[in-house]
Point group: C2
Chain length 142, copies 2
């Protein structure tokens, strides 16, 4: 009375965990020459997505804890990659912006991310690659 004789397929959540894990491992390799950790590079990438944003916006868009963001930005600021500036309208808030050195490094991080994506999707046809990226983005938006 085995009603499920076929090998069970891993749930989508499990598959997505492995997918992210694999991408993160490849990214770590690409990042090694830059002397950056995944987490710091991720924050730089997120800062690069918007011209200017507060720590709060960064915390929301990355889904990390705000106290963790404080420490990460402390580290990036100590390396001269980002600056916390006065927010034009809200004196509580900090505007997080890239320094010239940060912009330069960000360009390298973006190149590393592109190389990572290319390596990670080398099993795909160009059409599959686009489709997967599109569907993943739609999935994230919910």
């Amino acid at each position: 009375m085995n009603e499920n004789p076929a090998p069970r397929r891993a749930s989508l959540g499990l598959v997505l965990r492995h997918a992210h894990l694999r991408a993160a491992q490849l990214f770590t390799e690409e990042l090694r020459p830059l002397g950056l950790e995944n987490h710091h590079a991720g924050v730089l990438l997120h800062i690069g997505l918007l011209e200017m944003q507060t720590q709060r916006q960064l915390v929301d868009s990355m889904g990390v804890d705000k106290s963790a963001m404080v420490r990460t930005l402390d580290a990036l600021e100590a390396r001269g990659l980002v600056r916390r500036e006065a927010h034009p309208t809200d004196r509580r808030a900090h505007a997080v912006v890239l320094t010239p050195a940060g912009q330069e490094l960000l360009a390298q991080v973006e190149a590393a991310a592109e190389r990572t994506d290319a390596r990670a999707t080398s099993c795909f046809t160009p059409e599959e690659r686009e489709l997967f990226h599109d569907l993943a983005a739609k999935f994230v938006r919910g």
Copy 2:
């Protein structure tokens, strides 16, 4: 001379991070009534994928550290959900198997995972859902 005036699209790696994050959050909600953490539920799901496996196989298939696996299995064993049995041919290895209580709870975890997948993919058509799952699985295999 702006050669990239369109809003930059997040790299696939970043998107996959968010995709996994979102699925994990929904899974946490579904798991709450079961009194299980994501991590422990994930190990149960992985144990459920194969009839019998060693700790080493579990470590490899999950991509976690072996010392972390020791602690997780200690916790699951203390709750009476799994047992470490003698391996039939290798006396160094432990065969990790589910207890009856573990099998019962696994069934509930699998149901929770299915509900999670359904909620997470509610923005998709059935065709997109299948396609995304298939492409993600192919991506993982590399």
